[in-house]
Amino acid sequence: MTIHHHPDEEILVRYAAGELAEALSLLVATHIAMCPACRSKVRAAEAIGGALVQDASPVAMSADALDSVLARVEVSAEPEPVKAPLPSGARPILPEPLRSYAGSDLDGLDWRRLGRGAYHIPLVADRGAPTARLLRIPAGRPVPEHGHNGLELTMVLQGSFVDGGERFAAGDVETADADLEHQPVAEPGQDCICLAVTDAPLRFRGPIARLAQPFIGI
């Protein structure tokens, strides 16, 4: 897999520093699972975090801190994180941590109708915070036309789309800001499945999509 479109370096650094909202962190984590180059940038940023902690001026702990910690480690073990079951056989299409957010790999998902043949699954939907969802766009069809008030990042998981003359395939991330009125179109041959993160509600342009917007809550 050759990835041509990566998230901005600022996003990677803020992910490493622990300063991104959950929806954006999910997209970065999923991208770096598929992109060793960006994973190495995140590891470098984390190494800087480690060096900064190493260099921090020590602040005295309370007198009984060590005893208190040793008492706690005796009591309970670290719970293992819950992971989505692995599909048997083939390598999964959705990498972790996305697969656990979705609840399964692609073949077990419960898609909701979005109109014009498109489907979606909300994954992170905290009020007032960036949202993340899976999108499924039928092969050869456009994503419902939209602009948006804020940043939008779209990562391709399967299939591909073309937008503004550029092609986005598995692992690629398209970054669109508020000024961009864009029109991604899925390429023929295979439905295009994406992870879409927006930090403001989308403003759909088509009359049907605009009417539906208050009801589908995206």
Binding site: E10, A29, I48, L52, Q54, A65, V69, A77
Partner: protein, 174 residues
């Protein structure tokens, strides 16, 4: 390696590790806005996690300080935002692997922490300041550009230079 002994449940090694890192993790938490009792509690929790997860620490992948930083970072996110820090799963069959580190790299890795600190110290102060602000003050690049009264493009290029340098250092060995 202290952490390797901690993985073998060596309490003396853990006490030494605690004496070094707990006060630094507390300092990191204070710097990011915790009050003293929150910072103390988070530092204790971080060291509890270090003890419990020590057997999962892989010295060929990260320096001890880097690994402890990521534990402290994730605890802080859990505590303040009641949410997770999503991360790839190194055992996931869908993870696209990098080339495995060479035997030389594993030997070299121990010195990463020292070399990264040295490299940070060699950076021009203007680059170091931007790195510190983006890690320790929860600031976006736009906010840094306003706080320092410099153009956004300058913030981005300083970050890019600083991180490029650290990355080269890590990749030279791999």
């Amino acid at each position: 390696m202290l952490l390797v002994s901690v993985a073998d449940r060596d309490r003396d090694a853990f006490a030494a590790l605690f004496a070094h890192f707990a006060p630094r993790v507390k300092s990191y938490m204070l710097r990011l806005g915790s009050d003293d009792s929150q910072a103390e509690e988070l530092a204790q929790e971080a060291l509890v996690s270090v003890w419990r997860k020590a057997d999962r620490y892989d010295p060929s992948r990260a320096a001890a300080s880097t690994w402890i930083f990521t534990i402290a970072r994730n605890l802080r996110i859990d505590a303040y935002r009641r949410r997770n820090h999503p991360e790839p799963d190194p055992d996931d069959p869908a993870l696209v692997p990098e080339a495995p580190p060479s035997a030389d790299a594993v030997v070299e890795r121990k010195q990463d922490a020292e070399r990264i600190r040295a490299a940070l110290e060699e950076l021009p102060e203007e680059q170091r300041e931007v790195v510190r602000l983006s890690f320790f003050d929860d600031k976006t690049h736009t906010e840094i550009s306003e706080a320092l009264d410099i153009p956004l493009g300058t913030v981005k290029s300083r970050i890019r230079l600083a991180f490029g340098r650290i990355r080269n250092l890590l990749e030279d060995e791999a």
